[in-house]
Amino acid sequence: MHQLETLYRQIIMDHYKNPRNKGLLEDDSYIKEHIKNPSCGDDITIQTRIENGRVKDVRHDGSGCSICCSSASVLSTLVKGKSVEEANTYTKNYLNMIMKQPFDETIDLEDALAYQGVTKFPARVKCASIAWKAFEATLKKASE
């Protein structure tokens, strides 16, 4: 039981119980992406506002397990204020980290580092990734 304990005790419960930047805005300057995991019902929408090449704001909303919902909150706090390029790098690093791929350990993923624990739960990697994938998609849309 130890691994689940460490995973949840840290940052995850805090962001799950007290999500930051939660709730979507009716604002066309935000780019929106909705991702659903049909096998479990996790359902996350990310809204990103980009200004002068920087991530000005990230909002999220949805429903799902604690890993999925908390990771959206952690993501929003981490990438806000970063340049689009940095945000992309952070996202790729995070996704590589949870998928056990090589990643740049010199980049400080802060609270998001807690999710390295999901590598012990391969079936939950998807839960930890969908908010970030949605965010990545908003960046891609913005660049098009």
């Binding site: 039981m1 019902g41 799902g64 604690s66």
Partner: protein
């Protein structure tokens, strides 16, 4: 009790595992694994084609498998079509029978208990044909009742597509009565027996169903094979849905014609090893016997329900189910969070909507946990499961869920 059954299943002798996900797929016994190996080692060739001895041997084994399964459900040889599984069998009914006989304004009766594989094919036919999908209102408990069925049956009902046993609630549908009433209106009935075939004796003649489908992998058999039973007269009148080798008679430049059922529905090389393994799985079930299976599952179910009920903060959605499926949640905790806890205790449970989103919506929950039992489970598995459920409940409460 099923003393010693665990030894028949190699995976249970390889690692610590309490397997409570039979409703998704059952474990495979040595007898079936050996049978698959026998095909690949001793006569690993195509059927119906070669005129050499080995091909004859494979063809004989494939035929014998069909006969074994036909006998198992009291059907005749020609009424059993090998498919990829229950899903493709149920699709076949919609794509062939539905496509041919459903017209605008006709009604197709279904239920919110259906697996996606028995809703979506008819939903698509209804859309294409401008027919109407009609849902049986479920009882408070979530059951299909004869009365509720009668309340939606009409002179426009052409097809009734219902599950025999719900894969989420474990309820048994009063399908025999429903079939009799449906026939009085001239409707045909398609029965999804994916969760019934592994756990109870089926007799298609006694049921008088028109179509019935199930998969091998939920009843000790291999993946990739299942069957569709169809009444002979119906099958003969239905068009094929796939065309290709083996299903045809004469082929001309601009047209061709087909063999009789079941072959016209089996285009291409069939799942030969799987069909032969499927028949072995049927023999394995018969060696245990349904009376013993039912008694065993009831015992485990009772033990598990009592254990869960003694824990505060757990909701069981189907306390009164007749089969070995328990559908539950830890209040306030997403099932995906819970299932990882069980996983660490080497207990395999299903979390999610179980390919039955309509029922999960009906229950008004985001998802549920499902435990399901079979003959390789024993009382100590249930003790482990209940102990883990207790600790999971404390753990999630303690960390703030």
């Amino acid at each position: 009790m099923m003393q010693g059954r665990k030894k028949d299943f190699p995976i249970l002798n390889k690692q610590p595992l309490v397997y409570l996900d039979t409703a998704a797929s059952s474990l495979t016994p040595n007898a079936v694994i050996n049978k698959l190996n026998e095909y690949y080692k001793d006569y690993p060739v195509n059927v119906h084609r070669g005129v050499y001895k080995l091909s004859y041997q494979a063809t004989e084994a494939y035929h014998a498998a069909r006969q074994t399964i036909a006998d198992f459900i009291n059907a005749s040889f020609d009424e059993v079509i090998f498919t990829r599984g229950a899903s493709s069998a149920l699709n076949l009914v919609a794509l062939s029978y539905g496509e041919q006989y459903i017209n605008a304004g006709d009604e197709i009766i279904v239920s919110e208990l259906e697996h996606h594989s028995h809703i979506l094919p008819w939903q698509q036919i209804a859309k294409r044909k401008n027919a109407k999908l009609v849902y049986i209102p479920l009882s408070k408990e979530g059951r299909i009742t004869v009365e509720a069925f009668q309340s939606v049956l009409s002179n426009r009902t052409k097809v009734v597509a219902l599950t025999y046993v719900s894969n989420v609630m474990g309820y048994i549908t009063p399908i025999k009565e429903i079939i009799e009433i449906a026939h009085q209106k001239g409707a045909v009935v398609s029965v999804d027996a994916a969760q019934a075939a592994p756990h109870m004796q089926l007799d298609v003649k006694a049921l008088n169903c028109d179509f019935l489908a199930f998969s091998a992998h939920k009843m000790f058999g291999p993946t990739g094979v299942g069957i569709l039973y169809g009444k002979s007269a119906l099958l003969q009148a239905m068009p094929p849905v796939e065309y290709g080798g083996d299903m045809n008679d004469n082929v001309d430049l601009y047209d061709g014609d087909w063999k009789d059922a079941p072959y016209k529905f089996e285009a291409g090389t069939p799942p030969i090893a799987e069909a032969i393994g499927f028949a072995e799985a049927v023999r394995y079930i018969q060696s245990v016997g349904f009376d013993a299976i039912i008694k065993h599952e009831q015992g485990l179910r009772k033990q598990a329900i009592e254990g869960l009920e003694a824990i505060d903060g757990i909701t069981v959605y189907n306390k009164e189910a007749e089969t070995g499926i328990i559908n539950f949640n830890l209040d306030g905790v997403h099932p995906h969070d819970v299932v990882s806890f069980f996983d660490e205790d080497h207990i395999a449970l299903r979390a999610g909507h179980h390919c039955a989103q309509l029922l999960i919506k009906w229950l008004k929950v985001p998802a549920t946990l499902r435990a399901s039992f079979y003959i390789y489970n024993d009382a100590s598995d249930i003790e482990t499961f209940i102990d883990s459920a207790k600790r999971a409940r404390s753990f999630f409460s303690e960390i703030g869920f």
